[in-house]
Point group: C2
Chain length 254, copies 2
């Protein structure tokens, strides 16, 4: 077990404690944010959020979901900047990648977040207001590309929301091993897909849904483009995590 | 407006009033059941339930959903026997149809429930514990085959759950006009589909989902066969109807 979480800043606001941290993983600095209920101690479910391409750990949808899980369910939530994103690149590099989809995808294709995510869980679950409870993963688009290998590898993850992604020929859009990882996943899933996604083909999305080995897996298709997931869909994720990550005692000391 | 609802029996149990009725539509007797909150007066949302092939108005999943909508949301709910089903055939005929899928489908292909459903709404909404509130429709499999033309024709229906069905060449599995009806529907929908449905092809299901013109339409795919819709999926329907059929005043007199 590593103990190298470097808390950079901590603030509490409206019942939510937010801690910004750096974590060194294989010589690479991984910046993240952890949200927990203010003044709470004890083991609780933790949901890990993987952002989409060109976004970062402070994406408004992630922050909103994270705070809602903390306030409404008493969960903990954590987000990190993916490789080549957020504080892991200079503002100039980030801008160049935002403006060049091909370059960004070529960069993302090579990288892997599995070890980073596992080390984040190791460290965050050491904290006395998080503990070693059940873990959920939420990540669509690049968050699925990087999340599928992580979720396949880490047995602490008990439920996941994936989406806006597909199954492609090995070594093209994704790293080798992606399909094998998808096929090895057996935990409950929601797989979200946009029917008019300008970046993903319907067939590829259906193939990825088909690949998961989970007995409980729901594919939720909605109209609209890549970034148009409707509110009615977003509303299904919290009950899903609550159901699968279950209750916990917020009174117990960690 | 017709006034020919013939109440055959009424009983109240556990907060739910159940009325069995007969209704004459074009010389055909249509037997149904209406569920309302016990001792309630006033206009409220109404959900109409269309059962599946070989089933009838007392299918356990329909009765359970209907009572839950009544008890938990204060809605009214109504189910009728489809043509060639339930009390509309003799026990011998029903048994023969259950045992002969081809004959049952050939019979269902010819029939239409649109006028029956519209007349049921006319009459049920005259009652002082139902009133002319917003209407929802729930029906999968044969309930979609007969429900799509009805929902397309009746503007009182504001939200629908369809599923376990597909788009087929005209005049084969469905009556002519089915595809046109589907394409004319613009209300919020959930379209449920089973990924390993032994009766429906995935492509046909995706085609039917694609055909609906609704801006809000979610296709929920789950693993398993035609009758294996999981509890996690069933749990999405009540919030959907509550959201779209909205609040109402149970205190107002009808």
């Amino acid at each position: 077990m590593t103990h190298n979480l470097n808390i950079l800043a901590e603030k509490a606001e409206g019942g939510v404690t937010e801690r910004r941290f750096d974590l060194s993983v294989n010589g690479e600095n991984v910046p993240g944010i952890l949200w927990t209920p203010e003044n709470a101690i004890g083991t609780r479910p933790l949901v890990a959020f993987g952002h989409g391409g060109s976004q970062n750990k402070t994406a408004p949808n992630i922050v909103a979901m994270a705070k809602d899980l903390v306030l409404d369910l008493g969960f903990a939530a954590v987000a990190i900047d993916g490789p080549g994103h957020g504080e892991r690149v200079s503002p100039e590099q980030a801008k160049a990648l935002r403006e060049n989809n091909d370059a960004r995808r070529a960069a993302v294709r090579k990288i892997d977040s599995t070890t980073e995510w596992m080390t984040v869980l190791d460290n965050v679950q050491e904290l006395d207001d998080v503990g070693a409870g059940p873990v959920g993963y939420w990540g669509v688009s690049m968050g699925t590309r990087l999340g599928v290998p992580f979720v396949a590898a880490d047995k602490r993850v008990k439920a996941a929301v994936f989406g806006l992604f597909g199954l492609f020929p090995e070594g093209t859009v994704v790293k080798e091993g992606f399909e094998k990882a998808a096929r090895s996943i057996e935990i409950p899933l929601i797989f979200v897909f946009q029917w008019n996604d300008e970046l993903m083909k319907r067939e590829d999305g259906l193939k990825l849904y088909d690949a998961f080995s989970s007995k409980e897996k729901a594919m939720h298709i909605n109209p609209g483009g890549h970034v148009d997931i409707p509110a009615s869909e977003r509303a299904t994720w919290k009950p899903f995590f609550r159901h699968h990550l279950g209750g916990f005692s917020s009174d117990s000391t960690g």
